[in-house]
Amino acid sequence: MSQTLGLVETKWEGPLVSVKDVYKHFPTGGGLGRGAVVRAVDGVSFEIAGGETLGLVGESGCGKSTLGRVIMQLQTATKGSVEFEGRDLTKMHGEKLRQVRQRMQIIFQDPYASLNPRMTIGDIVAEPLKNFGLGGRRDREKRVHEVMRVCGLNPNFANRYPHEFSGGQRQRIGIARALVLTPSLVVADEPISALDVSIQAQIVNLLEDLQAKFKLTYLFIAHDLSVVRHVSDRVAVMYLGKIVEIATSRDVYDTPLHPYTKVLLSSIPNADPDLEVQRKPILLKGEIPSPINPPSGCRFHTRCPIAQLPICAEVEPLLEKKADGHVAACHFAGKL
């Protein structure tokens, strides 16, 4: 099928994505370049291996969505490089970059805002094929129906409009649109947080099935640590523009090393009443500091239950290997 459409398929052995020291700063509009900058992403490096799911978790404003968009080249990095299949995307422009986009797609949070209400869902799903001039009308239609079917949508509904569908079905449409070009990387930015609880499980299961079927690589961005842990092979935790810990999803729960990860875990209520009575939430003091003027040293030190002065306020901890496949940025990792 994909051959008849002339979709690109490449063989690449190294890490599918490697993000190297990426910064994304937004000017706040002080005028004439003298304004302050929002340090949304502030020096972040990690890799995503082909076929894995990397979960990216953090609270609102930590920069996780910006990071996802920078990887997708929907926003240009202020500094640093994003390599995809070994090629630096930040150095690519125009047609070359456009061709790479076939291989990387994004699914958005709000299935109501991310679909054009005036297009039929068949046209919405076919549009990426059209944009890349792939296949004839007949081939495209066949491919659209095929993709709709694997995403759990009835192909007979291809002529209907988005408003005729529920939130869960719209999210399936968004997923079908992302998959129609058979990408290798899919960035899913809070794909289930706008959905009803009973629908969330449908979409999580669908994403898992599709990954197994098409060997997809996911960057799964969400604020909900339990969902992230469930879908991910590895989890990266972000706080104020920095990654503070990366570990396998088992280690991140069993042996969290960064105090912020520990705080996040302790904050999640448990549906099991027996476990819930045992849970002792670690409550953070104060509010999340502004990314315009982040704290010196470790960014978490102003709220950290185990911060020690002066070191935590003066020396920024590096994201270092603490155990096999487990990195954390903390002077006192594992001490909480």
């Binding site: 609880v197 449908q202 969902v227 996040l264 549906a271």
Partner: protein, 326 residues
Amino acid sequence: MNLTTEFGNAAGTVRAVDGISFEMDPGETLGIVGESGSGKSMTALSILNLVPEPGRISGGQILVNNQDVVSMTSSELLEYRGGDVAMIFQDPMTSLNPVLRVGFQIEEAMRAHSRFDKRQAKERVIPLLQRVRIPSPQQRAKDYPHQFSGGMRQRAMIAMGLANEPSLLIADEPTTALDVTVQAQILELLKDLNRELGTAIILISHNVAVISSLCTRVMVMYAGRVVESGPTRQVFDHPEHPYTWSLLRSVPRVDERRHERLISIEGMPPDLSRLPSGCKFHPRCHFKVDRCSHEEPPLAEVAAEQEARCWVLMRNVSSQAQALKT
């Protein structure tokens, strides 16, 4: 407090809440869990006799502190709402007036009722802000809502809700818009207030874990009906209704030991204007039998204090349930 509710509620001819009954003791914490459209918010608004047009309470009785809410005059309602029963909502920004100082708005909540006089109302603002753990309350009382973070705004709303010392506080998805660490702070605050002041709390949420964290009793709603209720521990440890059972297994648990596939509830919550016959959950139920499609089960006692609306009950299908998980 003795609160018995039984009403069919008609927005057009849609019954958003269809004949539900429950009682609450003073100081009790009750959780109402359900998805959008299950009728949980309408139940709360009915308790305040605040059902939006064109809806109306079409039957039943709501007694709060032995006063019948449905038959109250509009002036009685003004004193009752925010006096005996206060409510806080999901989005604190839309509930606060953006052009008035936070302290003034809390004072105003007391001035609108007759429990405290003008001087008392003024004096109570700072202690109230302190009570909900807002740091430097003297200064923050002079701030405007936009100067507050989301969590602080919700604290301010809670302070306003508590201003007239209500016997019941209804919190409708109070933490849904908040980050988990802030959610944890608000839940702890609600727990403390319940303990310190003895204010009864109805917590409405789609999140079973949030309910488990705060509420001693839980009511699970589906399509305007209560499908299961009982002590939270009992219901969540031994759910008997397939909807409750599936809901508990459709969300990943942060402590899961190995990767289990989530139980997905197929289809969508039903359209209230076209409800299925029989049990309203049967089209999506993994365990339905013939009877379910034509005869609606009653809410019946299934264990001490636990009621479920189901012909099958999970205890009778444990092997089938096990098979679903693998």
